[in-house]
């Protein structure tokens, strides 16, 4: 199979957007995010569209397509469990393990849903680490997304990934409410039986980096959507006898947002294109994208709210969920500071 063209990607984007508009409309999206069955159903639908296999064949659909799919999920505030699916596909697609083969098959059909924990690769020292003795997994892992509806957990442990089913003995899931909606969870494994698949450290690190880029792309989609709402609002909302979009204070705010959004999008695309083209510099381009997107997209989110005024502050409005998504995604996995540290490492060498 050949890699997708730009035209193919446009078609893919449109088909995901249309699917989500029909199956995950803005109306009621907040309530649906808390319903496990509804999230499971939309995941099944996305898998029917082929997204369950994203990451399984990178020559066919690579990081550009992954980023695009996450951007659309962010735009629609859809909490479909794509992150775990992509990570597992990236790690196991070339493995010959029978057990993993069955998991991948279920995953690609949307029957399985994987929650992901990066352990030592998370970048957040509070995320927890996993220990695997034989086939017994012990860990207390924080900030896991999609845990409530997951059928499986994939946990980065040592030089490999441990996979456990969510109904296995010793698994405890505790929701940890906060800015992220749906909630992140704390997941405890107490001597839980797991299958471990060896994966080289470099591969784990690359997967973790792609996961970070996927989250940044999701934040981009959310920030872009809230920005578009702000621009539309500025064109129709009148105060002091004129459209607020005529005020230079609003114009310059939104002009800055456009620069930030385009800067984030182009750096993310550059990183993804470099990876798909086999350019080893993709990791540095990725760090640049993450270091820029962190503060830039958060500012877009905040400034969009300023332009929207009080109406955008109501939880039933669409904007607050994008605010939550942008901030939640950009704070994860070490956030902006980790990305800056990586760039410093590249430019200056090690600190000591």
């Amino acid at each position: 199979m050949e890699a997708l063209s730009d035209t193919d990607r446009d078609l893919l984007r449109r088909s995901i957007r249309e699917f989500l508009a029909a199956r995950w409309p803005a109306e009621g999206a907040v309530e649906r995010s808390g319903e496990t069955q509804t999230v499971t159903a939309v995941w099944r639908g996305l898998a029917d569209q082929g997204l369950g296999a994203l990451g399984a064949n990178m020559a066919e659909a690579g990081l550009r397509e992954i980023a695009l799919a996450f951007e659309e999920l962010g735009r629609a505030s859809c909490p479909a469990p794509l992150l775990g699916a992509v990570a597992v596909n990236l790690a196991f697609a070339t493995q010959q393990s029978n057990a993993m083969g069955a998991l991948l098959e279920d995953l690609h059909q949307g029957k399985a849903s994987v929650a992901l924990a990066l352990g030592a690769f998370d970048g957040d020292p509070s995320a927890g680490k996993a220990e695997l003795r034989g086939d017994a997994l012990s860990a207390k892992l924080a900030f896991v997304e999609g845990a409530q509806a997951a059928t499986h957990f994939a946990v980065f442990a040592g030089e490999g990934i441990a996979v456990a089913t969510s109904d296995a003995p010793g698994v405890t899931i505790k929701a940890t409410p906060g800015l992220a909606v749906p909630s992140l969870s704390e997941v405890t494994f107490d001597n839980t039986p797991a299958i471990r698949v060896a994966v080289p450290r470099e591969t784990l690190a690359d997967i973790a980096l792609m996961v970070r880029l996927a989250c940044a792309s999701r934040a981009l989609g959310a920030a872009q959507r809230s920005f578009e709402m702000a621009v539309e609002h500025a064109k129709i909302r009148k105060q002091f006898g004129q459209f607020i979009g005529q005020f230079q204070a609003i114009q310059h705010k939104l002009a800055n947002c456009l620069i930030s959004l385009d800067g984030a999008r182009m750096t993310l695309e550059t990183a993804a294109t470099a990876r798909d083209g086999g350019n080893p510099d993709w990791r540095t381009f990725a760090s640049s994208a993450l270091a820029f997107a962190g503060p830039a997209l958060r500012t877009v989110s905040i400034e969009s709210h300023r332009a929207l005024g009080a109406i955008g502050y109501a939880e039933e409005h669409e904007a607050p969920r994008h605010f939550r998504r942008v901030h939640a995604d950009l704070a994860r996995f070490g956030g902006v500071q980790r990305a800056r540290a990586e760039l410093a490492e590249f430019l200056l060498g090690p600190a000591s």
Binding site: K235, G263, D281, A291
Partner: protein
């Protein structure tokens, strides 16, 4: 050349880059470069001899159409070219305005006679223009300009005042925007003249700009300019001005990015090796965080610039795209200049003339940053353009 990974600009541009570097290696030798660098700062950048040398070997007009004696290089290749010149510190300002603003206007609006008379001189590096746009009452609102030209026989008689013109004290000619119809709406009464600065009635008063070179106020008292020196139809000058600005902005952007990249490279190279008070600068986590943030911003500046270039290559004129690139890069230059002060400490205040300066060029880089914010349309105007042209927000 840069500390950040390079972007592949394609085989044609890469081959052209090599050609340019080969020429520079032969003609802009380390000795010449050092001699230029030893001049006082205010005298660098403008070198008539270097312009003639570049003209001799066909390096003026690399982007011009072949029918005008140019190389017809693509916008990407032109960016490669200005980047290589900036990296090598080649002083090309003497012919820059002639090449990038006057000549393209002559291609589009000049008569056959004007093209035959002026283009060869420009291409040979012998004809140096400065821009006469801004006036005391016309800066961001350039179309409000009032310098008056009145027809008298075969001449236009010019009266008025212009200011902030870089290179006006060294140039031979002024690319002068004048009002030829004071009754018409402000954009509709402007014309363009090529004025010989040796003409009686021209007074040029240079003053020092913050970044270390001169810019000038110039006065016109009954200055007679031959009517054959008007470019474009009478009262059609606004179109001539704006057409030239659009493509020029991308090239200015290319030079700006090259300048920032060079400063960033030198700065990170310094931080990488310097020890202050027995402690390596690079071991400081705050410094590392700051450098990481600037590196990401630099990457974004490069991306915005390349996007403008793609728009040009698609045959469109990048309006809000070029404005975005300009705003972001010029403000990055300010941030980088200030970060250098924070990281270098008080030593960062010292200029290259101070022997003990840790990195003397950075304070000049900071002083220079203000020019980039204002010149070519202030960033406030650029943000208006982004909002109104890029986002379709309503005008006031």
């Amino acid at each position: 050349m840069t500390a950040l990974p390079a972007h592949d600009m394609g085989p044609a541009a890469n081959a052209f880059r090599k050609e340019v570097r080969d020429w520079l290696a032969r003609n802009w030798t380390p000795e010449k470069r050092a001699a230029h660098q030893n001049k006082p700062f205010k005298d660098r950048g403008w070198d008539a001899e270097v312009s003639r040398l570049m003209g001799r070997d066909g390096w003026i007009g690399v982007g011009w159409p072949k029918r005008f004696g140019g190389q017809a290089r693509s916008p990407t290749e032109q960016i490669v070219f200005v980047t290589e010149l900036a990296n090598a510190g080649v002083p090309y300002h003497a012919h820059n305005t002639s090449e990038s603003i006057v000549a393209p206007s002559l291609f589009a609006y000049g008569t056959q006679q004007q093209q035959d008379e002026w283009l060869p001189k420009i291409r040979n590096g012998e004809c140096h223009f400065a821009l006469g746009y801004s006036e005391p009452e016309a800066g961001s609102d350039l179309a409000a300009l009032r310098t008056r030209a009145v027809r008298d026989g075969d001449d236009w008689v010019v009266n008025g005042q212009k200011l902030w013109s870089t290179g006006a004290d060294k140039a031979q000619y002024m690319w002068l925007a004048v009002r030829t119809d004071p009754e018409a709406k402000k954009h509709a009464g402007i014309s363009m003249l090529m004025v010989d600065l040796k003409s009686p009635g021209v007074t040029i008063r240079p003053s020092m700009a913050l970044y270390g070179r001169t810019f000038s106020t110039h006065f016109y008292d009954d200055v007679r300019v031959p009517a054959k020196n008007m470019v474009g139809e009478v009262n059609n000058g606004w179109k001539v001005i704006t057409d030239a600005l659009a493509s020029e902005r991308v090239m200015i952007g290319g030079t700006r990015i090259a300048t920032i990249e060079r400063a960033f490279d030198r700065f990170t190279e310094y931080v990488k090796t310097a020890t202050v008070g027995g402690k390596a600068l690079k071991s400081d986590p705050l410094i590392r965080d700051r450098i990481g943030a600037l590196a990401a911003d630099l990457e974004v500046a490069r991306q915005l610039q390349m996007r403008s270039l793609r728009v040009v290559e698609q045959g469109r004129s990048p309006i809000h795209e070029a404005a975005m690139a300009k705003v972001f890069a010029s403000e990055l230059q300010e941030r980088l200049g200030q970060a250098a002060l924070d990281i270098l400490g008080t030593g960062g205040l010292l200029s290259e003339d101070a022997e003990s300066a840790p990195l003397g060029e950075m304070e000049q880089f900071l002083r220079h940053s203000l020019m980039g914010i204002i010149a070519g349309g202030s960033n406030e105007i650029q943000r208006n353009i982004i909002a109104q042209r890029g986002l379709d927000l309503p005008r006031q």
